[in-house]
Subunit: 311 residues, 2 copies
């Protein structure tokens, strides 16, 4: 099944367009969790895995999509990476659409290795088998088409997708992405290429396997790009801790409440570090995650076309 | 000791500016190597580790710098990543300067996680310890300064460095990197930022911890950037399999034969797949690696200012 159709089905089933971002920082883990494990790198990795799986247990019935930030796992070496692998497998087994957020990028033959690693299959003995089994990956297009077409090829073959950075959510996104070349900002050139990469690979829903990362922190650009890229699914970071609201994310959606998923990482998984939630839920950190998720779902339903997903 | 001073010392000690790129593709491993291990992902990973360490044994006394392409290890999941970690540790123990080639990039707090992971230390129990212990990392600057300054900070603290993609070696590098914004190509903007990031962090040799990736396949841009970035060390890919020659790489160097390292991956580590070498060395693939390395060292000495490193 085409990636975009699977994503749309997952969003419809959940009745919301939330993407739960699993970005586990050890210093923010619930009290006592690190202490359950040995005080070495493998122990921290086990704590990250335990935490991630518990978060998945809270959110799995309520959202369709999760995104794993690789950096926080790579920080704990091969042991951390093994924890990521196990947690991603757990998410897949729960029926979630899994995005590997690694922003990978390289020249052609190396990009193909990344594409096969995360989305496809790699040669093992006489066979080919998946190494990571992600449904989608974030990529950086600075190297141009020959760094991206391997992802297109593998994604098309395997029913997978990718999201290329177009206009990111951070403050210095403007520095290069907004440089005006021949009357158009750089991010528009990248956007046009993303459309071109996906054009021949659309699902029945009308969206392609080539998605775009466009931050909720820049609503004007979000609306501009939505109009320019009607067949492109947006992965929208920047909601919550980075300052973006439901209203800011609204321009990302089409009239049916589709075409975008809005990511929230810290604001959901570390909701218990918010004073109001901590007072209410005490040691029940899972309750805080659940309540923060409800709040975000309601915010998107009230302030974007996602409200239509509920009917 | 400052990263640039360490790199310069390693290059001087070796008498050449070669960076050996370890990009192990399983399908290109020497005959019989895969078959020594179980036919599963862990077995392939063990073969990659064995091969990488044998390559290190051939090149360690002859070059100062090695670069590991993470993609080919990530392709085999956590087991592959563990093989990378072990091979990098082996390179460090042999006194080589180790570059982790992962082209990592993300927004501020996540970029900091990557910087701490590969160049710095991460919290483990009551202490901080290195997770990867690389000397340098390749990064992609599309997200702007707030995605790079965490690398500057960690590198400055730890005596490490990084190389930011400026002008890459692939055919479609032109697509975005050459877009002209206000009279200047995009890569020049990135180059100017790289200079600015490194300016406050120069070693005694006059070079900074903020390096630039500039391909040997575009000699004109290489010379232009060398003139613009006198305090920036260049990591030059594109030599060998990608078509770049010693003469093409020449503009990367300063008059003393410093300021750049030239990477060669496939052309060295898979030299035995070259017919001429295979006929000469038969099953002695290490001999082919050694001979190809000699040829590259001689080429750089004859066609660049690196010849001066030999005296």
């Amino acid at each position: 099944m085409h990636f975009a159709d699977r994503l749309v089905a997952a969003v419809r089933r959940a009745g919301n367009a939330v993407c739960v971002g699993i970005d586990p920082r050890p210093e923010d883990l619930p009290a006592g969790m690190l202490e359950q494990f040995p005080g070495d790198r493998a122990g921290v990795a086990k704590a990250l895995e335990t935490f991630g799986k518990e978060v998945l247990q809270v959110v799995a019935g309520r959202v369709g999509v999760v995104k794993f930030q690789s950096a926080f796992y790579e920080a704990y070496g091969p042991e951390g990476v093994a924890a990521l692998h196990a947690t991603m497998a757990d998410a897949t087994s729960r029926g979630l659409v899994v995005i590997f957020d690694g922003k990978r990028n390289d020249i052609g033959s190396t990009a193909e290795a990344y594409a096969r690693a995360y989305l496809g299959k790699v040669p093992v003995g006489e066979q080919f088998e998946p190494a990571w089994g992600a449904d989608s990956i974030t990529v950086n297009a600075y190297l141009g088409s020959d760094g991206i077409t391997p992802f297109v090829k593998v994604a098309a073959r395997e029913g997978k997708g990718f999201f290329a950075l177009v206009r990111t959510s951070n403050a210095s996104a403007r520095e290069f992405q907004d440089l005006v070349c021949d009357g158009k900002p750089l991010y528009r050139y990248v956007a046009e290429r993303v459309v071109a990469w996906g054009n021949a690979h659309k699902g029945e829903c009308g969206y392609s396997l080539a998605g775009a990362v466009v931050g909720a922190t820049y609503p004007a650009e979000l609306g501009e790009l939505r109009a320019l890229m009607p067949g492109t699914i947006f992965l929208v970071p920047g909601y919550g801790a980075q300052g973006g609201s439901g209203a800011d994310a609204a321009p990302a959606f089409d009239d049916a409440g589709l075409g975008a998923i809005v990511n929230n990482s810290r604001g959901l998984i570390f909701a218990y570090s918010n004073v109001a939630y901590r007072e209410k839920f005490k040691a029940n950190w899972q309750g805080a995650v659940d309540a923060a998720l409800t709040e975000m779902i309601d915010d998107l339903a009230a302030n974007t076309s996602c409200g239509k997903l509920r009917s």
